[in-house]
């Protein structure tokens, strides 16, 4: 039914239906609102009961407090972790490096294999592809304990290698990109072969540019998985190699008073900010990626 065929009653009903939806929408964004508020409140405002619903006096104290020694003041986020070179920003850098390097490398590796599975014919192709598909069914909990032992054996504990390399083979990315590449016409590849292009060159020059939308959609998910990964870094890192999720996980203490709240809200804010920005920039790709992967199921 379209809007112009509706009776006035139906129109009112339709608008009324929005009321619960909008209430729900407000509930959805409360955590974000509370996070921004908490990040810029003073400690004394954070200690108020009941909590203030707006902000009286926005300050940057939770990030850096020049008067940290005074009562009702505390070390800001960037004044913490003094025993670590770079403090909090070190963890931030760790997370960025791991997320970016792993995402880029995982996509390249997966797309190369996806191209071979989509466009090459060779003995054992189906068996290998089934092996990759089958591995998607195995939950990560099965492999994580031996992986810890392998990484330990390699001497990688507490290194970037431990955070990046084991997550390189991304079976779902391979599967997703292969499905996408199946639609690329063979003629295009054959023409390049006739011109004497090497297979790697075909992958780099012809295939990759054509699958950029799929790579972006997949890349967003791989990046998100990296950025939020808690368990693996919790196991294989300590001290200065910790990543943001591990640090954040130590910041909830339900029994402490409002004192630490501001700092942990400040941390939440700058940790989730890149994701929120990326989301708002790439929302279309996210939606399309989800729709595509969903439809494949």
């Amino acid at each position: 039914m379209t809007a112009n065929t509706m009776t006035p009653q139906q129109k009112i009903l339709k608008h009324a239906a929005y009321i619960p939806v909008i209430i729900l929408a407000i509930v959805m964004i409360i955590p974000f609102y509370w996070m921004v508020l908490g990040a810029f409140k003073t400690v004394s405002e954070l200690k108020q009961v009941p909590p203030t619903l707006t902000i009286q006096n926005p300050v940057l104290d939770n990030f850096y407090d020049p008067e940290a020694d005074l009562p009702d003041h505390t070390d800001g986020l960037f004044q913490r972790y003094a025993d670590i070179d770079g403090g909090f920003m070190r963890f931030y850098a760790n997370s960025v490096i791991v997320a970016v390097v792993n995402t880029v490398m995982a996509l390249l590796v997966a797309s190369l294999a996806a191209y071979v599975f989509a466009k090459h014919r060779f003995p054992g192709r189906n068996a290998l592809f089934l092996l990759v598909l089958g591995s998607m069914m195995i939950p990560w909990q099965v492999t994580i304990l031996p992986n810890f032992l392998i990484v330990d054996e390699l001497g990688w504990l507490n290194t970037f290698a431990a955070l990046i390399v084991p997550a390189l083979p991304h079976a779902f990315a391979l599967f997703f990109l292969r499905q996408y590449m199946l639609s690329i016409p063979d003629d295009l590849i054959d023409a390049a072969r006739v011109d004497g292009a090497h297979e790697f060159l075909i992958w780099w020059r012809i295939i990759l540019p054509l699958v950029i939308p799929a790579m972006v959609a997949m890349g967003l998910f791989v990046y998100l998985g990296n950025w939020n990964n808690l368990v693996w870094p919790l196991m294989v890192t300590s001290g200065e190699m910790r990543t943001l999720p591990v640090i954040m996980a130590t910041m909830v203490d339900p029994y402490s008073a409002g004192f630490e709240q501001g700092v942990s809200m400040a941390a939440s804010l700058i940790v989730s900010l890149p994701t929120i920005i990326i989301f708002l920039l790439f929302q279309k790709q996210f939606v399309r990626g989800i729709a595509l992967t969903g439809l494949k199921g």
């Binding site: 009941p50 989301f279 939606v287």
Partner: protein, 401 residues
């Protein structure tokens, strides 16, 4: 590989007839050699794939049958299926309700004492929790078995479910409850939102973004914020709303009854918008003509929803439910962030936050029982596998109708 049948039909003759080159004429070795570039290109994926997925899988299956602790110097002892036996062995025993020998009144257990119903009410008023009492309830289970729960309780008796690793069963129970509610709510709300925001308008676009935002950003950072929203009795936003309404504040994070509801709420908050996007994609695939034809036939909106929208959304719903169950059974982050203590314990009060994965983490990495934890990982895999299989079966059966 598949051999082309045509080669068999070619009569064997030594004449120089030009036979077209057939791939199947070549030996397997030749074909592998010709495809060497393909294999070479696969190496970048398959070397780490074998090292960090296949090898660990095999190792995990082996470790699950050992008592390995994770220490390098340990002599690993092969224990066969002992870990699985310890994990899964359970007893279900019927017990009779304890009755007062003289009056025949049913009895309760309050702390260490037995009490009649009226006495029990007095104890409860004093703050001692009372539970129904059964005959020999502590002796009925074999040695080494602990009570997980009682079922089918009546005035005459009950069934006591006991297990060797009662915490594992508690974890399964928690995880199952979490999965049922988080999947059900996020599917229903996701579908509702998709239907409500289906039309293309600016307001709908904004609302879609708002609902979708949590599923993208619902990481560790926002879970921390939720921790603050629920925290304490005074500083938390939610409790200040509750006290504002004139109710007693609730210690959400320190009350076992609230543990699962909070984790479920977080899951629904982070999952409903994602499901909405999937349902919107599903709705977009339903041909408009079907609705038009139904309108011509005089179908009502409800009828169109029941006989067109719902059936055609079924594959998408099946996909969402299956992936939702798989993901929910692996829940860890939220319970760890909100409820783990500083000593590596992840159970929270009376194990109310214990999930399969958090228990696996605790046994494997806090207690260093890697063999046992590996066995748990395989049990989790089997549970997920069976659930997926059942789901697919049910989905197919429904589609056939």
């Amino acid at each position: 590989m598949a051999t082309a049948p045509s080669t068999q039909d070619v009569p064997l003759q030594d004449t120089a007839l030009p036979t077209p080159p057939k791939i199947s004429k070549k030996t397997l070795i030749q074909r592998i050699w010709e495809a060497r570039i393909s294999y070479f290109m696969l190496l970048a994926f398959f070397i780490p794939f074998i090292m960090f997925i296949i090898l660990p899988m095999v190792a995990s299956a082996y470790l699950a049958m050992t008592d390995y602790s994770g220490a390098r110097t340990q002599e690993i002892e092969f224990v066969g299926l002992e870990n699985f036996r310890e994990l899964l062995s359970f007893e279900l025993e019927q017990v009779d309700r304890r009755v007062d020998a003289e009056t025949g009144e049913i009895m309760f257990r309050c702390g260490r004492r037995y009490a009649t119903e009226t006495e029990a009410a007095a104890y409860t008023a004093d703050g001692t929790a009372c539970t129904p009492a059964y005959v020999d309830e502590d002796e009925v289970l074999s040695d080494g078995y602990d009570t997980v729960g009682t079922f089918f309780r009546s005035d005459h008796g009950a069934y006591i479910f006991g297990a060797q690793d009662h915490r594992f069963w508690k974890a399964i129970s928690n995880t199952t409850i979490y999965t049922i509610f988080s999947v059900a709510f996020s599917v229903i709300i996701g579908l509702g939102l998709a239907l409500a925001l289906q039309a293309q308008s600016v307001l709908n676009m904004i609302l879609r973004t708002v609902f979708f935002l949590p599923s993208v950003t619902a990481g560790v950072a926002i879970t921390v914020v939720w921790g603050h929203l629920f925290r304490g009795t005074a500083h938390g936003l939610i409790n200040s709303v509750i006290t504002g309404l004139g109710r007693e504040p609730i210690e959400f994070l320190a009350n076992a009854d609230w543990t699962l509801p909070i984790v479920i709420m977080l899951a629904v908050w982070g999952g409903a918008g994602y499901n909405m996007i999937l349902f919107l994609a599903g709705l977009g695939n339903i041909p408009e003509e079907l609705y038009e034809a139904a309108t011509v036939d005089g179908a009502s909106t409800t009828e169109k929803f029941r006989f067109i929208t719902l059936p055609l959304l079924r594959p998408m719903t099946l996909f969402i439910v299956i992936t939702g169950i798989i993901g929910s059974f692996q829940v860890f982050d939220a319970v760890y962030i909100l409820f783990a203590n500083n000593n590596g314990g992840v159970g929270h009060i009376s194990d109310s936050a214990l999930t399969i994965v958090s228990y696996l983490y605790e046994r494997g990495f806090t207690n260093f029982e890697m063999g046992y934890a590996s066995a748990m990982a395989w049990v989790l895999f089997i549970i997920i596998f069976i659930l997926t299989f059942i789901n697919l079966r049910v989905g197919r059966a429904n589609e056939a109708h």
